[in-house]
Point group: D2
Chain length 506, copies 4
């Protein structure tokens, strides 16, 4: 039975993690007001999954007919990919960032990589993962994805670092499991998840094999410490949105944490660690597209209300319409890449499907840089007022209240308070610390732009395009056979057969 947001919050009481925020220990994660917006945002993914109206998107089909929460499901079809994309957008246009789609991305990556490891090495990681997955789905858990290592000197590989703890690694192999050490630097939702999935964040060479580790660790395992930020802007009156919904990120320290073998999914297999990293990146970049499109919905809606309150009419004021269209173009332009990545998803040997890497990476690359343009357009449309307004406590100052409310209205039939409320919402989303978080997480979450560019280059069928030109120039195939013109009748981008689509209106 799926949990509600309230169930989820209660469930956190079963854990006693060691969490600090701004240097102070957290007594009860479920009750700490500094974390409440984060728990509320993650909770939206629980409540929406229980809402029958959202079921087609939020619940994936399962063999037993009971369904699986989309955020914990293994994708079996292009439909699953598209529905997950829409589901993430649906959640994030409500709560800014639902956080929980990272669980989905990581589980799918583990599903593929453990199968590959078993095939190559005769291990039994996939069975362990399936058992773990079953429990996660059954208990409807929230997982924190502990992937981004602290990294230390960026010009050195893991095994070259002066302090090896800047990457999480296997410190000891025991009969009953492994002991891990090291720090993960950016773990979304760290304080209020049930478990961490520890995963490598880069390709490894043989000498780095101790760093090729993937395993599951309860949030309150011995040796785990979380140093986190508050989620959103709890308690701030001006934070129209992020006092309600927010996200905490934390540094997670693993100081000699023991992990029993049944929770270990990779332990030294460098090649499959690369499979894991790449598969996670592809799934996660695809999910980010949905997430930031949801954020775009918030900006579009808020801008529409600001325009109205200011008395402007996009039909008559061309530059206002122009800015709205540019905002829409950006949001739906990268969202389309998510749709295309779903349509051209690729199945793998494990029997699951991943989004097409070219489209997923292009979509994420577009959003990661254009989030700044989205902020710019939101500011252009809202006017300078949004950082110049008196703070919300001024609204109740008897000395100024009447005068200010008389002059800070826009259109005469819309009360000043209503206009200011939207202005503060835009400020909160785009010009506060929370706004900074959205831009940074869009730029760097799931890999920096350079990482996307390298992946696009690695995945794109460049030589097929070169062959096309050689055909046109009536050159034969080169002696080394490198250039063979693509099979006819297949997709020009992916080389796959083009999939049929049912009509949208069926």
């Amino acid at each position: 039975m799926f949990m509600s947001a309230a169930d989820y919050r209660e469930s956190l009481r079963r854990y006693s993690p060691r969490v600090f925020i701004d240097g102070h220990a957290v007594e009860s994660v479920a009750d700490d007001p500094r974390l409440a917006p984060g728990i509320a945002a993650l909770g939206v993914s629980y409540d929406f999954a229980k809402n029958p109206a959202h079921a087609p998107l939020m619940i994936a089909q399962s063999n037993d007919g009971a369904g699986v929460p989309r955020m914990l499901a293994i994708d079996a079809s292009s439909t699953d990919l598209l529905y997950k994309l829409e589901a993430v957008r649906l959640l994030c246009r409500r709560c800014g960032c639902a956080q929980r789609y990272l669980s989905h991305d990581a589980l799918n990556a583990c599903f593929e990589a453990t199968q590959a490891a078993d095939a190559a090495h005769g291990t039994d990681y996939h069975q362990r993962l399936l058992a773990y997955l079953q429990r996660v789905q059954k208990e409807d858990l929230a997982l924190g994805i502990a992937m981004t290592d602290a990294k230390g000197d960026r010009s050195k590989r893991p095994s070259e670092q002066q302090n090896p703890d800047v990457y999480v690694h296997i410190a000891e192999r025991r009969n009953d499991g492994i002991v891990i050490r090291g720090a993960k630097a950016i773990v979304t939702a760290a304080p209020y998840v049930h478990e961490f999935l520890v995963m490598p964040c880069r390709r490894m060479r043989p000498e780095d094999s101790a760093f090729a580790v993937c395993c599951a660790v309860p949030v309150d395992a011995a040796g785990v410490t979380v140093a986190a930020r508050p989620a959103g802007r709890p308690g701030e009156a001006a934070a129209k949105f992020s006092a309600r919904y927010g996200q905490s990120t934390g540094v997670v320290l693993f100081e000699d944490v023991f992990v029993p073998w049944e929770r270990v999914f990779l332990a030294g297999e460098c090649e499959e660690a690369a499979v894991l990293t790449t598969s996670y990146a592809t799934h996660h970049r695809h999910s980010c597209i949905g997430a930031r499109a949801g954020f775009g919905d918030l900006l579009i809606g808020a801008a529409a209300l600001m325009i109205e309150a200011n008395g402007l009419d996009p039909e008559r004021h061309a530059h206002v319409r122009d800015a709205m269209v540019e905002l829409i173009k950006i949001v739906e332009g990268f969202f389309a890449c998510g749709v295309a990545a779903s349509v051209y998803g690729r199945t793998n040997a494990a029997g699951s499907i991943a989004p097409d890497a070219v489209f997923a990476n292009i979509g994420k690359l577009l959003l990661s840089t254009q989030i700044y343009d989205m902020h710019r357009l939101a500011h252009d449309l809202s006017g300078g007022l949004i950082v110049a307004l008196p703070g919300p406590d001024e609204d109740h100052n008897p000395a100024t209240q009447a005068s200010l409310s008389a002059v800070l209205a826009g259109r005469a039939d819309i009360p000043a308070a209503q206009r200011l409320e939207v202005a503060r919402l835009v400020e909160d989303l785009t010009a506060s610390h929370q706004g900074g978080w959205y831009s940074l997480i869009s730029l760097h979450g799931g890999g920096s732009p350079e990482a996307m560019k390298r992946e696009i280059w690695r995945s794109y069928p460049v030589s097929e395009k070169a062959a096309l030109i050689e055909d046109l120039l009536d050159r034969g195939v080169l002696a080394d056979g490198r250039r063979v013109s693509k099979q006819p009748g297949r997709c020009c981008v992916t080389g796959c057969e083009v999939p049929p689509l049912p009509s949208a209106a069926e």
Copy 2:
């Protein structure tokens, strides 16, 4: 039975159109070397349709099982839209611009608009259109779309123009048909089609009803004159591509041309003329996405060969890889919009389906401005050489041949001639008159950027987004009921139910 490219060329002998190129009359369209590249390019759409390997994309299913050439088919499903998109890309990556997809776009628009007119006015346009369509499909015709009027003074409406002939209009209504007059300014492939489909190019007010005319006219009907440009760069040795494949555009004069009623599909219905214009625009912008993605394939392939010939390695030379990735990002970024427009296609009362307008317009808007970036990147990757090379006749000059070929090679194992050939291809595609044609037609074909922006604004569910924010701010629905939060569980962009997708790898 479908025609081959050769059949198509022969079929042109059955017509005797009045065509001038650069002031000189064309004796035989089929034989005139100035038109040969255009006939060859359009011919590719015939040959590919007969190639069984291309059948899934090039042939649409029909009730009789025989199939219909994709370029003449009415779209019945999202799959049809996606396959058409891929088919157009497939054609254009061979011949630059296949031209014939305009037939598809216009027939689909007529299909929808005639049904709408009949429903509103009790006319029988749809039956006429079906009869005409059947003949076109059976005879496998090529249609020229005569839509863009000469327009005269851009600040005046059709009925306000000093010379009414700057827009094609009904000059006389007779018992047996209508007489039309006026000029269409940009008709792609005009000299070497079988028939013209005359269509209005803008919204009309009641006073403009004489201009709301849609009908079919044989290319050699009495009163029709075509003043055209040569197709591509026929006979130019340096034109590695466009001496072989090109496009002719022509001004088409209709000087009191009689059209019998069975060929008339709208005659004064302003509202359905708007349906026709919008439907055509949506289909055509969707097709343009496929077309220019095919052009992008040519640039990507040519750039890859230039890099190789220059001895550069994208793995080592980061700025080369960066430029390639930017080129790929642009091409697949707008192509993704075409895919999304297919997935979210909208069925209409006529029973056919059109691409989603938001995604189709965004894709076309992106390509129409980014074609210039594509040229820039192709130039960046090829080097300055491409406009500084001696002309191809220099290659055979005994006085310079040996010296030049010794110094104009790049990498030692790739002959200079091979490098120069690709350089000339890039010049031809991007820095010749033909390159100018590609950029202009990308910018203005199917409507200028401003037209796309207006359509995006018209089609986008802005008020649904505003309602989303009002929900978040816990505001009730406004009194006028204008804001109603969207139905849950539906696509965040289109409001449709999200369609299921079969897995690509099935």
Copy 3:
């Protein structure tokens, strides 16, 4: 004698303004910690003017040889413009935004507009202004520029507003002066200036003449109320920069404030109000260029330190160098427009000089949109860490201090604390509420992008360029004489004689 920053702070005790911050009254502006960063930032303009090393830029020449603080000087030469530009950059690269250059911009605008009004109407505004100016310079005052009205319904003119107080206007004309009413919505530094210069913010029609008012009002005049925000982020440990330097903006209410005639500089002259508005806009946009270039210096410097701390080498890591060069390109690209606006400054009938409007507006337009790219690049270069770091109080938490400091270092020879300090500085400048303020104020301060575009269009010699083409096409001058080819030997942009420049190294 010029004041120091300390003198300036003390001088504020002579005033008793009615100021509220977040609903609470300010007892003593000079002592309120919420305003300290603003007073410190504005104070930098005082201290730098007393520093002999900065004298060439910070002190303008005066007839009496004593010099005038640059921020209060009337520009007499292109050199003055260039030195002011560099002076503003110099200040802002120290304190983010010096605020006081608005005094300069407004005084120069009043200088020009009062002369124009007198010439047209036989008034004596200019003498009043000169007397006022002399006092301001002698007392070395800080002025708040009260220009941006609250505006109400943006689709209506001032006289059409339901509540006339949304624009400041003359409520009563008396023998001894005028009484003004209304609200100015965004007044930089409002709580801690000595006086307000009230100015109109838009062009007026005759029916709006009551709104064409310019006058000086002491900050503590009867009827003046300031509702302000805290300056920067006072008292926040994480605010490496803006706990020290910040800016307060305030809404200023004028509720029947009496202004004696000697302090009134325009009272109903609509045409000269337009001169005033335009002149201020030109000067201010020019100053904004210097200000934001100084902000750019801060980002460039901080990014360089982050790169170093992360162990990256721009020579080897091409994408890092690329991002740095893009950041430099943006900053120096718009700064160059400020230099060109100085070189091509225009003298006016009042004997002063203003920056060239085309270059000044282009520079401001570039920075107003590219500030978002500057944030993007700073984030790209710093890494995601900057919004994921534990808060600064964590640094002193004995439970985590040692572990975190061991893993959060980058390059081994740079202590973690040093790296985190720069990371927090970048966060403060670009991803905090203060970062939002910088972007909004860059976008909207001195007019929104649309205002700049309209001014560029109004000022650019388009018809001279058209004449150039008509010459080339050997067309004669048109009958209406409209097109006359420009005088030879003059600047191609401004039509002025090109000024000689002394060599930089003389």
Copy 4:
């Protein structure tokens, strides 16, 4: 005495160069129609220098009071730099590309590098150069700058190439001079200059010293062969501009060409070859800014005429005004960088002055990529018509003339012929082979974008900016002394004293 354009053309008869165009020998350069547009364009620089109205810009001051043609003068002051910049713009807005500013750029580079070589090596290159310069100025010559080598495999250095002739090098040193061999790939105006200045195009290592050669060679020296392209589009009726003015580029082969010592300016000095290359690049990029701003003037003027002919009014049609402003913003935005580079010019040990490298490179970088946006905007403003018009021979076809001219007009009071003429001009400048030449030469001429980026990085005072931040953070100077805060009171970009500027209106 300066030559006129006619004198210059006649002077070409004194030379008998070995020139081929498209494989055919040129009998007389002065008379060959294929070169006429090039000779006419270069001739404009002669005629304008004789026009007294242009004298302040076109003639530099000289000690003897007679003046020196700007295109051959050594810059002695910032004024010289600014006047040269404006002079180049003045020429290029007449003839597209004046070509002759390359002479200026190369002579200035030789002036600086020969002095540096003499100072380092005790050679007498500078005296040789001065003697040569005197002759060039006295005879008012046109020089071809033979700099860009053929380069072969781009991943290999000159001495590593399989065929050393892909770079020009010293094949033999003799008592009386040197013998050079090799190919220069892109020499502007090659067929119709008097002499070539041969210069190295990249930095050399010691093993490449044979390639570090700079010398002057008459265009008809024994062993010199030019394989060139026609200049512009000679004889094409549609080429409204480039049938009149154009540019030829040529490959120049040096096959054992003897150069006497008095014409040799560097012969193996690698370090000073780097000085030469860098100095040339800086001067040339600065000149390119003026050149392409002149091209921008042509586009702005032509667009204004097209808008008018189409009946559009930028005041009412916001998107038209918007596109015009964007075009202006681009052109004047990069031109401003040229102005700033002049103001902050740097004097050198040879006593001459060069533009500031940061601003010159940023300006060139901006134009090199934005030339494509300029084309885009010109196309947007002109409409699609410009590549769809019937060719100009159609204008005289009695069968279509009357009908076409009736429907191809725009605004009723502007004849169709006048509209078509401007449309063809825009096509010629932006959508013909000539348009391709302008974009390519803007992108690659004077170095590709990557070269500019590297130079900006090399020249920018990044560590001064880092020091600024360390000051702010109250860090001391680092032990290695690397960071010393900049001197106060100096330019924030260049570290120079800020130069005074005379008022423009003096």
